[in-house]
Amino acid sequence: MNDTTRADLERLQIQVGRIIGDLKAALDAPLAIMASGEAWTGNRANGFGTSMEIHKDVLRQGADTIDEDIDAAVAAAPAEEAPA
């Protein structure tokens, strides 16, 4: 871990923490539109909606993994001594 400090990792953790929620919800609005039935309906649309649901789960899973990996990196970094 070259010159990386725990402080760098904590900043990354905060930065990602601010936007990870948006990433997880990225397909919520399109799903809501499909569910409303006001954009596209029919068998083909049903298949499209189902596929979107599946990819929403994949997205959430990927986002959680990234979140956990950053948390793990922070936890593994040695605590820094307070300046004298």
């Binding site: 990354l12 936007i19 990225a26 596929s51 994949v58 990996d69 990196a73």
Partner: protein, 640 residues
């Protein structure tokens, strides 16, 4: 065969939301941005398998976006076929599933075959029918075909020797619809930009005609700038040029020497004006922004169309464009107009009134414009005072001296009595032309009189007399114009006599057929009904023996006054004092036919009105004012 229901607005929203999702994924993955969460993590030597999941989702969203955009494009084109439907029906087939680039490729391939063959054959048309509402495919088709070839292809279909016989119009319709569809493509391919060439001048009549023909069937309402550039660049700029009458001017040229094979005019100038008639807002803009005024344009059209008719199609199409541009479309034509519409109408009316006779093909237009601008026709009938009364010019903004206020008229401009007389006379050839104006003026008369009665009752004003005088003058200008110009004057008089006689014999009530009430009013001065109702039939005799038109007009005025509360108080209605014999079931005044068909009822009615000063004074004064207006206009015309 399966179908989807799709909504343009809904799919636009879905596309927008998927694009946001794609950007949010990219903020992490860094496919198109330098800065990303993955890059930041890499710099800190942190890795995550989660990005593999995100990559899968990103790929799916990209594909979903293409799929949605494709359907959005198709939905936009279909929406024009199913106007007003919240969702449109879309067939799900192999073509619908195409990637947009593949659809474009298919269109390009078809265009290549058309170019190589130089014409459309049945197989190509069959494919064109499948693609005509596919923006991706049609954009590819036209991008490959190019603007000149597209115009020449359209022109070839217009020529009788095209070889496709009765299919020519159908083929041209497909090409036109396809071009409108291509213009809807949100991501136009290379080559489509070249169609700005349609806005450039050309001296080739085939190219000019073909460009304009391509605008005749498809819905270009979303591409009005393109339409504007095409009609101006191809024809109207030339029509506005000094050499407009030169046979070599492109706007004066034709596709061939005779009728086209597709039912469109062969006259290039006419086809340009006809295009504008399809888009009223654009017509107003284009005709307002020409290098010459609409008045000069009118002079040129009348000179070119002439009488005997030469370029009749030019007059007809120009008229349709004028109706659209001045807000005179609809049945009945609207009397509410924007300042731009009114300014054009002023130019057109005063330009037309400069001509003693107008091209026959435009008479239906002048009649509709007169109906749409009925307030202006009546206001322009005002005979102002002075040594040369009524001898004023028309003005967009200067009100004639002593113009009466409070008459309820809301003219956008002030015509001269001479212009009104000439313009109204211009469309008197057939009763069918004059009917819309007569209906409009009768309606305006009824509402103006009612409003004036109510206002005068409240403050003792003089509005009723002003209204009666104005309409008396308008009736003169109209009636005399009719006598002067109507080819079927006698026939229409007979028709109206019959309508009035029917009321008397069949008791259809006071509701006269539209327009006949105004006719009856302007018959009032200048002769008794027995001068025209001298037929031997019973109906005519009934009228002739019992009444004259001035009395009928008097009845109509009194009836309007009673209806608007003249002589009534909160405690008692004026009809309370009327003899029972002239009252109906609910205490209302009996219809005109019943009262005037019976000498005793007529006597009781007149005696009663004379006993009610509020009614008698106002009705007499109004009748005098009508006569005054009538006489003033007669004097003006006699001097003119």
């Amino acid at each position: 065969m399966t179908f989807s229901s799709v909504s343009v607005a809904g799919l636009e929203d879905l596309v927008a939301k998927l694009q946001i999702a794609l950007r949010e994924l990219d903020d992490f993955l860094g496919y198109t941005t330098e800065r990303s969460v993955r890059a930041d993590m890499n710099r800190l030597d942190v890795t995550s398998t989660g990005f593999e999941d995100l990559a899968v989702v990103h790929e799916w969203v990209e594909s979903a976006l293409r799929e949605t955009q494709r359907r959005l494009g198709l939905a936009r084109a279909l929406e024009h076929q199913q106007p007003g439907a919240p969702m449109v029906r879309l067939e799900e087939n192999a073509l619908t599933d195409y990637d947009p680039l593949l659809a474009e490729r298919q269109g390009r391939d078809l265009a290549t075959r058309v170019k190589e063959s130089g014409q459309l054959d049945a197989d190509m048309v069959e494919e064109l029918e499948q693609l005509a509402y596919d923006p991706d495919a049609m954009a590819g088709f036209y991008a490959e075909l190019g603007p000149e070839m597209a115009a020449r292809l359209a022109a070839s279909l217009g020529m009788p020797e095209s070889g496709v016989g009765e299919n020519a119009q159908h083929y041209l319709e497909l090409l036109s619809i396809g071009l409108a569809t291509a213009m809807m493509d949100a991501t136009p391919p290379d080559g489509m930009g070249a169609f700005s060439e349609f806005g450039l001048a050309t001296d080739d009549p085939q190219v000019a005609w073909g460009r304009l023909a391509l605008l005749q069937y498809g819905d270009f309402s979303g591409q009005q700038a393109f339409v504007e550039q095409t009609v101006n660049g191809t024809a109207l700029d030339a029509f506005a040029a000094e050499d407009w009458a030169d046979p070599n001017n492109i706007s004066a040229k034709t596709l061939g020497d005779g009728d086209t094979a597709v039912g469109l005019t062969e006259d290039i100038g006419a086809l340009a004006f006809g295009t504008l008639a399809r888009y009223p807002g654009l017509a107003t803009k284009v005709l307002s922004e020409q290098d010459i005024s609409a008045k000069e344009m009118t002079h040129r059209v009348y000179a070119a169309a002439g009488d005997p008719a030469q370029r009749a199609d030019l007059a007809d199409s120009f008229g349709l464009a004028i109706e659209a541009a001045t807000g005179s479309q609809g049945d009945p034509p609207s009397t509410e107009h924007t300042p731009e519409q009114a300014a054009l109408a002023f130019e057109f009316i005063t330009g037309s009134a400069d001509h003693e006779s107008i091209p026959p093909a435009i008479k239906d237009t002048t009649a509709r414009v007169a109906a749409a601008y009925v307030d202006e026709m009546v206001a322009g009938s005002f005979i102002d005072g002075g040594e040369m009364s009524g001898d004023r010019g028309s003005s967009m903004d200067v009100m004639p001296e002593d113009f009466p206020q409070g008459t309820g008229l809301s003219p956008d401009f002030y015509l001269s009595p001479r212009a009104v007389h000439r313009f109204l006379g211009g469309f008197q050839d057939q009763i069918g032309y004059s009917a819309p104006f007569e209906v409009a003026v009768e309606s305006l008369y009824n509402s103006s009189l009612a409003d004036a009665i109510v206002a005068d009752k409240a403050d003792g004003g003089n509005r009723v007399n002003d209204v009666m005088s104005l309409f008396g003058a308008a009736a003169t200008l109209y009636f005399e114009g009719q006598r002067e110009f109507a080819a079927d004057f006698d026939a229409r008089e007979q028709a109206r006599k019959g309508a009035v006689a029917k009321i008397f014999t069949e008791g259809t009530g006071t509701v006269l057929p539209p327009g006949v009430g105004f006719w009856l009013l302007h018959q009032g001065v200048g002769g008794k009904l027995d001068q025209w109702a001298n037929s031997t039939d019973t109906e005519g005799a009934v009228i002739a023996e019992n009444t004259d038109a001035a009395q009928l007009r008097w009845y109509m005025t009194v009836h309007a006054m009673i209806g608007n509360g003249v002589g009534s108080t909160p405690e008692a209605h004026v009809m309370d004092s009327a003899p029972e014999a002239i009252k109906g079931e609910y205490g209302e005044l009996l219809p005109m036919d019943q009262i005037y068909a019976d000498p005793e009822l007529r006597r009781q009615f007149m005696e009663w009105v004379q006993s009610v000063p509020a009614l008698d004074d106002m009705a007499d004064a109004g009748t005098d004012a009508w006569d005054s207006g009538w006489q003033g206009a007669q004097t003006f015309l006699g001097r003119a």
